[in-house]
Each structure stands twice: as C-alpha cells, then as structure tokens.
C-alpha cells in the first residue's frame, strides 16, 4: 500500500527534526501543569466538586485544556506537509510517480495522524494514572478521548489543506491557525442572529461538539461533524493540488 508507505516516511521524517520533539515535550509539560492544578484543586475543596466526579473535573478538564493546546500546536505540525515539498521541488518527485493525489493526501494525513496519536497517548497517561488510586467513569473517559482524537484529526485536515495553499510553511501555519480559531469560536457569531442562525453556527463550531463529547455525551451527530470536516478539507487539498498543476 503506497499510502501507508507515504505515511510511514512522513512520520519518520517528522522525528528527524527537533520540531516534533519540542512539540511533544511542550504539550506534555503544559498538560502536566494543568493536570496537577486541576487535581490539587479537586483534592483541596470538596465543595467545589459539589457532587461532580473526578472524571468530570480532572479528566475532562485536562482534555479540554488539551484541545486548546492542540489548537495552538497543530498548525506547526502540519505547516510543512505540502508547502515544503513545493518549495524544495520534492513535490515533482511525488507528482511524477505513479501515485494518485488522493493516495498522496491520505498518506500524508495518516502520517500526521500517527504523530497526533503518539501525542494523544502520552497525554492520556496522566489521567489514566488516576486509576491507580480511584475509579473513573469509563464511558466519559472514552468519549473524551474520542473527542480529542477527532478534534486533532480535524485540525490536521485543515492544516494539511492550508499547507497546499502556499510555499511558505509560516504562511501555512498562520492560515491554518486563523481558520481553526474561527471554527473554534464560530458559535459566538450565532448569538446575535435568530435562533435558526444560532443553531447553524453552533453546529459549525469545533468547540461545541468537543464539549458534548467531553461531557460523556456520545452522539453520532458530533462524530459525523468531525468526519465531514476531515473529508471536506482533504478533498479540498486534492482539488488544490490538482489546480496547482494546471495554473502554476
């Protein structure tokens, strides 16, 4: 499977650069701080918890911060994907090979997803360590991790598309961060409008669907939202690469 080969090389090349290691370390460090703060606050004041469980406050809280941290670092992970290939001329190697654009885009996407998976697994170790001392709500835990995973997949797809737009990685990073931030807070735009509009904007928001999953509320509507988002941006990336070939 050529797609998996592309994914494997992409994954391996990420670790050849210090960026991947720095990102892994930074994410882990930030999440550890928030995890510690949430945990100590939970232990200090039982009133604050007020009937809410460990899973909801500490685990879901950490994952929610995790979503924001990923929003910040994802553009840096995806910025090089196609922009650097275009700039250094290696895109010619890929385009002159008997590989379709769909395989190429999916391969790169899977490669980054693998990296995101490593990051997610490392982040998951902290909440899971609580199992040593207490019991957690397995359902909410699973929904939360699924939510963060889907969120990261969406970030990756948007960033991948942004990297096909330019030859400058930095421009790609800024573009994808702006797009993601807009999608993150778009539900606010709905507040001013009619109820109808509010519902539409709320549905478009990355944050709303994530929050529902963090609450342990698993609904296929939320999962479908992320899958549609991923599919759309990957299709846009294929379309964009094809038009680069025509209009460049």
């Amino acid at each position: 499977m050529i797609m998996l080969d592309i994914a494997r090389v992409e994954f391996r090349r990420m670790f050849q650069l210090p960026l991947a290691w720095v990102i892994l370390a930074a994410v882990q460090f930030l999440l550890a701080i928030f995890f510690y703060v949430l945990l100590s606050r939970y232990l200090e004041s039982a009133q604050l918890a007020a009937g809410r469980g460990m899973t909801e406050i500490v685990v879901a809280g950490t994952l929610q911060i995790g979503g924001i941290v990923m929003l910040l670092v994802s553009p840096f992970i995806t910025m090089r994907l196609f922009s650097e290939e275009r700039r250094s001329g290696t895109l010619d190697l890929l385009l002159s090979s008997p590989v379709s654009l769909v395989e190429l885009v999916l391969g790169k996407f899977l490669g980054v997803l693998l990296f995101q998976g490593v990051m997610l697994a490392m982040a998951a170790l902290m909440p899971l360590s609580l199992l040593a001392g207490t019991s957690l709500d397995a359902g909410q835990l699973a929904a939360g991790f699924l939510g963060l995973g889907l969120l990261m997949a969406a970030f990756t797809a948007v960033g991948l598309f942004a990297s096909t737009l330019t030859e400058q990685p930095a421009v790609a990073a800024v573009t994808s961060f702006s797009a993601l931030f807009l999608l993150w807070i778009i539900h606010i735009a709905g507040h001013a409008g009619s109820e109808h509009m509010a519902a539409i904007f709320a549905y478009l928001s990355l944050l709303r669907h994530f929050d529902r999953l963090l609450d342990g509320y698993f609904s296929s509507v939320d999962v479908a939202y992320y899958l549609i988002l991923v599919g759309t941006f990957l299709a846009l990336a294929v379309w964009r690469l094809d038009s680069v070939r025509t209009w460049r």
């Binding site: 592309i6 050849q16 001329g89 385009l95 002159s96 008997p98 460049r248």
Partner: protein, 316 residues
Amino acid sequence: MEGEALIAVERVSRWYGRHLAVDDVSFSMRRGEVLGFLGPNGAGKTTTMRILCGVLAANSGRVLIASRDIVEDPKAAKAHIGYLPEQPPIYPDLTVDQYLDYCARLRGVPRTRRKSAIANSRERCGLADAGSRLIGNLSRGYQQRVGIAQAIVHSPAAVILDEPTTGLDPRQIVEIRELITELGDDHSVILSTHILSEVQTTCDRVLIINRGRLLLDQALDTLGGGDRRQFTLALRSPPVPEELDAATGVVSVQALDGHRFRITFIGDDGAAAGLVEHAAKSGWGPYELVPDAGTLEEIFLRMTSGDEPQAAGDAS
C-alpha cells in the same frame, strides 16, 4: 512495442498567464534513443519536460508514454518514466538508502526486487559507499547523483533529466556525462541542457527549442552532412581564391577578411594537415588554423540569434 514510439508529444502548448511558454511542440522518441533538448535559458525546456512527466498540465495537446495518455491514465504512463528535475528532489533529512527505498516504493518496485534495485542504482551512480549517509551532508555533486539514482531505481524505459550538470564542477560534469552515456545503453534518455558540447558528446538526436517553439529535430550524425568539416585558415600572403579552391579535398572557400578564409573540405584531419603543408610550400605563409566548433553550434546560434532572451525563467 519494438519500433513504436516510447514517448509521443502531440501539439503541446502551455501558457503562464499571458506568456506562451510552450508553443505547439510535437516530437516523439523511440526506445533506446538519447535525446538532447537544447535551448537558451527560458526557452521552454523545463516546462516541456514537466508536462512530459505529468507534473504540469498542458493547456492543449497530449503526451503519450508507451501509448498511455499521461492525463487520462497517469499511473500506467508514469510507471515508465524516471524524472530528475532541475533541482534534485531530495529530502536532506533522510539517508541515501532510506530515500531510495521511499522512491522505489513510490515507483511501485515490488518488495522482492526492492533491495537489489536500490543497490543497483546506487552502484551505477557511484554511491556504493554512501548508503547510510544523510543526504543533507552530501556535496552538491553527490546530491545530483542521488537525484539520478532516484530516477533510475525502478529501471524505467525513459529517463528524463533536466539540466543534470548545472552547478557542478568540471570533474563532476565529466562523471555525470559518463553516467548519462552509460544510461543510454539500456534506457531512453531525454536530457535538457544549454551546453552544446553536452549534446554532442552524449546524444543521438537533438531538439532545439527557442521561445517555446521547436526549431529543429534531427539526428546528430546527419547534421552538417557527414564527413564535411570546416576550419578557418589565416594566411600571411594569400593566393587568389581559385588556387585555394583547387587544393585537395576543398569543397568551398569563403573569404572572411583579407587574410582569413573559412574552408570546407571533405576528409579527416590528415587532409587539413595536407592543406597546411601545401600552403607552406606555396609560400602563402599560414599562421593560424582554427577548427570550427562544429556545425551544431552554428545551427544553434543561427536559430536562436536575433531573438531577445525571454524575460521569464523557464522554471516554476
């Protein structure tokens, strides 16, 4: 497939905005040929090659590789070509072996043959000892070799090399040319260059392109009419032209100024020596004998002269 065209380019045109980079170019290539693609900078060589490899789409016309259309059936068509762009498409953060392995997979070399294919292409490009070195640490000449190794790792029917010797030192240029000549033994090769001697030493057939138009498509050995040669002879006390005409082997004489004559003759270098001897004996006072650089240069200069070079580069 024998005798059939391996690559057929049919009436291909390409615009960059309002600039016509390739204007209605058609040519074809048989298996086993080495084709020299000659033209000044900005002539449209790179654009044509990129269209040929499916990296760039043409605005009109089509490209067939082994009878497969590169746009309609890209996978089948691209399997037959190996392409080295002007800038070698290398990943500096991979080792030579990792990189060639990736290229072999991209080109669909089956698992069982992959190892030997990589070793073979590395061997041929003089990279036998460089397998575990990081590409980013290699010199420019070696990176170029890696670029060529990448283009032949799947032993494609056609190898397409875009200016493979630019930016190399003279020794590296000689080595790369030798490698290209070697490749010509069992691959078809298309080579683009703006250096005339490169075409003369390595190619069977030459295409001259200027301002996007194909001006010449001819086999090298039929250029300039076989054994005819030209040189410029300078004489201190020249005789009447008729006397020069009458010398052995001389076909025509053209007076360049009072002392210099461009002489076309039939025969090898011995005939030139005979003429000089004859001139000395007759008291004409020969003091300079300059062989012409070759008919290819003359044709090239004639075809591309009088034109302003295009402002736009031929890349991107």
